[in-house]
């Protein structure tokens, strides 16, 4: 997902996934976000040598993968793209942590265990947040954030910005294609020209943004009276309770 083209395709795919009819799509967005938040906090609270609980929590991630609309290969690709920063730091754990701990009767260097636990935590937290979002329409995510008391001003700005992102990514792709097609040997941008490119984008963005916003207004978008819709059914509450019960059990047994 390094290029603008990849990101645009990724966001478009997200929109389509949210429309599909998988079990996770049918759960209320508020419930999903609450579950994700609690799961992430519980996962991060696992101690660095506690490989047992980290593995048990991974079982919940696997369950969500099974009921979510995203393909496993797509998740793996995303994890691979996001992993360098985490790997760059945990790769030093075996070097600096030479403490010896016992796992299943075997003596192991603590550094390797803590590095593995951290990678597991990373996989769990990153995967769960993407699964939750991929199964939810953008407008419902925004509504859930409002339900969780995020400032209305910030949410509406977030919604408007999200709509504009598609347009500007498309503009960026066009510009990059234009630059590449005119370049001779160079594979990267010349940073001397960056300021002109950046500024041209901004000016273009403001002008396009005004047009898009006027179109939104003409279709009934009203900032002051915008209503957020959050419906929670009994089945959502049941799913929430069962999930949280399972997560708490595997975290604290």
């Amino acid at each position: 997902m390094k290029t603008a083209q990849d990101r645009l395709q990724y966001l478009t795919a997200f929109e389509e996934l949210a429309e599909s009819n998988f079990p996770l799509n049918r759960v209320s967005p508020v419930v999903k976000i609450i579950i994700a938040a609690i799961f992430i906090v519980l996962t991060i609270s696992v101690k660095k040598y506690d490989i047992f609980h980290a593995l048990l929590l991974t079982s919940f991630t696997c369950f969500l993968v099974a009921i979510a609309p995203v393909k496993v290969t797509s998740i793996l690709k995303m994890l691979l793209y996001l992993s360098p920063f985490v790997l760059m730091l945990v790769i030093f754990n075996p070097v600096y942590d030479k403490s010896v701990i016992r796992i299943a009767g075997y003596q192991v260097y603590g550094g390797y265990v803590s590095a593995f636990t951290t990678v597991l935590k990373f996989i769990n937290t990153a995967t769960v947040s993407v699964l939750i979002v991929s199964s939810t329409k953008f407008i419902h995510i925004a509504s859930s954030l409002r339900f969780l008391r995020m400032p209305k001003f910030l949410i509406i700005q977030f919604m408007v910005m999200y709509r504009f992102i598609f347009i500007f990514l498309y503009d960026i792709i066009q510009s990059i294609q234009a630059i590449n097609s005119r370049g001779l040997q160079s594979t990267t941008f010349s940073w001397h020209n960056m300021k002109a490119i950046v500024s041209a984008f901004f000016v273009k963005s403001v002008l396009r943004g005004e047009e898009v916003y006027n179109a939104m207004l003409s279709r009934g978008f009203d900032i002051r009276n915008f209503k957020f819709d959050n419906k929670i059914n009994i089945s959502d509450i049941f799913f929430c309770l069962c999930s949280l019960l399972y997560v708490f059990i595997v975290r604290f047994i």
Binding site: K48, N93, I156, Q157, V206
Partner: protein, 319 residues
Amino acid sequence: MHMADALLSVPVGVTFWGISGAAAGYASSKLKKELNEEKIIPLMGVAGAFVFALQMVNFAIPGTGSSGHFAGGFLLALLLGRHAAFLVMSSVLLVQALFFADGGLLALGCNIFNMAFIPSYIIYPLFKNIIDKNESKIAIWAGAFLSLTLGAVMVSMQTGISGIAELPFSKMLMLMLGIHLLIAVFEGVITVGSYMFIKRYSLQTELNSEKGKLKPYFGICSVSLIIAAVVSLFASSKPDGLEWSVYNIMRGADEPHSLTGQFHNFLGSLQEKIAFLPDYSFAGNSSQWGTSVAGIVGAIIIIILASSLGYIIRKVNKH
């Protein structure tokens, strides 16, 4: 520079969520009071999408074989003012965290602090008056450079305090700064160029309504605190020069006997009772983070003392 959940501890994540959440509430209420919602929301949306899209453009960092991308926090502050810039950057980070898992949900508070709060509320007020007065390109460059550098320092600190990665703080800091100093140079250059170019169109004036002088005290205090925390982490565990000299003169004695009179004993016991971070550390714990907290507390005390002194001098002068 996005922090991942896996590298954070829960207390650090929750603390920075609290700070960033409070700042978001403050910025929202300020903007609501000062500006017309209907007018600024689309412009802020455009600016957010613009920065998001711009972050997709990678540029090569000469001599490293690596690449970096524009962050845009300081440019947003110059164009939109500090409150709007903070909210716009926060929503960009929210989209990245939710849709791309780029920085986790728990780490979102840290990321907002590092990439939105620092440029908008710490660095921007430091340079705003200079930029308004002279349109100094050096000041714009320095602002963008410092925003990114200070963000990288904070990433190292947050990771270090969390204690998940075993890499020592000094090495982590060198690693982060090594990568980000070069990116910060380009960030500064692009910010200067873009700001000068965009300024010709006067588009930023619609949002950046902060015409008056901005007091840089909060920025100065924050930078002082971060520097105090970082520098104190490098503090040597060996005794200071005077202690070392006395120790050598007394040939291994704990302290010179001439100093251990009754008065000295009294002061010593008093110090033990009132010192909440004895020997720059948490009581009974040799953790280096105790030293860091001691550095911050020390800096706060010095700031309070200096401010009080200034206040007293001003009062005396008035009379």
